[in-house]
């Protein structure tokens, strides 16, 4: 209890969301799985239609008021996922999982803290994919899960 009280409000909010029904229901469905929280980071895997799982390391400072960042992550070796093991695919997949964007530290998505910068047009073009503090990290995970389970997903590179 003392540990919870000593936490920053943003960490407390993230841990509350990770223990809440929406996150646990997605985890029980096999859509995603919490690996670890080491504040301000959380590592969560998301499952793809071919059974592959992709780790993401989220940076969650000022959660949920500020959008998170997410970097493809090797959740077993605990290091950035080599570009050769990122997801591949047509169109939406190639654009979202682009290792050349911000040196591979980001997904090219409107719900991403860094990617939305300089893309004010996305606010009108992709309103359903913007960060939503009320839905928090589950919304981001849902968008990634949708991509990895779409017909355009083409498996792991390499």
């Amino acid at each position: 209890m003392d540990g919870v009280l000593a936490m920053r409000p943003d960490e407390r909010s993230l841990r509350r969301d990770l223990a809440a029904g929406r996150f646990l229901a997605g985890q029980a469905s096999g859509r995603w799985r919490l690996v670890a929280v080491r504040w301000p980071y959380a590592v969560i895997t998301v499952s793809a239609s071919d059974g592959e799982v992709y780790g993401l390391r989220f940076e969650c400072s000022d959660y949920p008021a500020t959008a998170v960042t997410a970097q493809p992550w090797d959740h077993e070796a605990d290091c950035p996922l080599p570009h050769s093991r990122w997801p591949k695919g047509a169109s939406k997949i190639a654009l979202a999982f682009n290792p050349a964007w911000k040196e591979g530290r980001c997904l090219y998505l409107p719900c991403h803290r860094l990617s939305i910068e300089g893309h004010d047009n996305w606010r009108s073009e992709h309103p359903a994919m913007l960060w939503d503090p009320a839905r928090g990290i589950c919304k981001y995970l849902g968008i990634v899960h949708q991509l990895l389970n779409s017909g355009e997903y083409g498996g792991r590179r390499g």
């Binding site: 223990a19 029904g21 646990l24 229901a25 047009n121 355009e152």
Partner: protein, 165 residues
């Protein structure tokens, strides 16, 4: 050690998916009492308990069935026995009734099939609440989206757009 039964609870006027623990084999009445605590408002009429994706509600005097391999049972509490769902896609409209405990994902699959989309094309589309930009999560029960005791829902089936530019 006391055994417990965990459920994922959704329902009318319940804003999110709630994770709730009971003693072993909770009764339908126990679930109704617990669900009332999560509702933002209560209405007149009888609330019914559905298991996810099941057509018929549980007997009001019965108990919750066990989950598969001890997994939490997904439960929905609503006054509507069914929701009249309309989906619009490229000018075509299809309508069908569904139990309130049906998920967005299962309703999308059923309606996409009715509209002639194959599963690969259906995977490139999502349900969006008509007149909004709101796209409920795949495991949201459709009854959670119906307010004020009505039993009607309208969606557009929209393509997942590429993010570029």
């Amino acid at each position: 050690m006391t055994k417990t039964s965990d459920i994922f609870l959704q329902g009318e006027a319940i804003l999110d998916i709630e994770f709730v623990s009971f003693g072993e084999h909770p009764s339908v009445q126990e679930i109704l009492i617990e669900a009332a605590k999560f509702r933002s408002s209560n209405g007149d009429g009888e609330y019914l308990v559905f298991v996810e994706d099941e057509l018929e509600p549980l007997d009001a005097h019965g108990h919750l069935p066990k989950g598969k391999e001890g997994e939490p049972v997904r439960v929905h509490v609503h006054r509507c026995r069914e929701i009249a769902v309309t989906v619009t896609f490229n000018g075509a409209i299809t309508a069908d009734p569904f139990a309130p405990g049906r998920t967005i994902e299962s309703v999308k699959k059923a309606m996409a099939h009715a509209l002639g989309l194959d599963p690969r094309d259906a995977a490139e589309h999502v349900l969006q609440l008509a007149g909004s930009t709101e796209r409920p999560d795949a495991d949201t029960h459709i009854g959670s989206l119906v307010s004020h005791g009505t039993c009607v829902l309208a969606f557009d089936l929209v393509p997942l757009k590429r993010v570029e530019g």
